[in-house]
Symmetry: C2
Subunit: 146 residues, 2 copies
């Protein structure tokens, strides 16, 4: 099976340019899975996986397949290379992101449960995610649009 | 972090010997995840991942990291090598297993949601799985014990 990547992002600017170009292949969707999401993601040099965030109702797990990313959390920074992994329980308030500071692409699996109630908080930027079912998914923290 | 593998199996004989020795490292548990399970599994030559089965409430996803396994479903057999993956929606009635017919170990990630209601059916053998919370997890199909 050949799977076309998703190359977009729901982020407004100036955040979208910090994560794109980026390729995500929805492996779980391809097999009809609905309770878990599994993305195969290729992150180019200089790009961020997302803004630093934490989820209200979805856990996340990252498994690095090749290349190197830097994990950023409240605890600081840590490089992750092939065969390394990290999990993020929900609702912790400790935000995370991956940054590719290397010279080549980084490839990793992103795994999460799916919960329609999920929102995400972004402590470093004026952004709020209101969930997959919200009419306006991303706003500023005061609820105003971009 | 160094993670000790789980080397046991809940299966009664003669099924346990068909899957062991086998190493599973519970990566998701190590990070405190509760809604999804992620195992890093090493399956030696000649061994089966499980008896061929399907789940009532849990989806599964396999991503092969190294080596080769043969996927067996109602559709037949298909080899899976590094970088290949397959997902199994819940409740399909199409049972699956992986068999290592190669000369070396096969290594893969096993990913699933977690649902306390989950049971598993085994069309090829006289075995029934009654779920993680059942007092007797495995019985014969008529409910009798081993």
């Amino acid at each position: 099976m050949s799977l076309e990547p998703r190359t977009g992002s729901g982020y407004p600017e100036p955040y979208q340019s910090r994560v794109l170009p980026r390729e995500k292949r929805a492996l779980g969707d391809a097999f009809g899975l609905t309770t878990i999401g599994i993305n195969h993601t290729v992150l180019p040099p200089g790009k961020e996986s997302s803004m630093r965030h934490w989820h209200s109702h979805e856990e996340e797990f990252i498994y690095v397949l090749s290349g190197e990313v830097v994990l950023r959390t409240d605890a600081g920074e840590q490089p992750l290379t092939a065969g390394m992994c990290v999990g993020f329980p929900l609702g912790t308030g400790d935000a995370h992101q991956l940054v590719n500071r290397s010279a080549g692409p980084a490839v990793y699996l992103e795994i999460s449960n799916r919960d329609a109630r999920d929102c995400a908080c972004y402590p470093d930027v004026d952004l709020q995610y209101h969930g997959a079912q919200a009419a306006v998914k991303f706003t500023r923290k005061d609820g105003s649009g971009f």
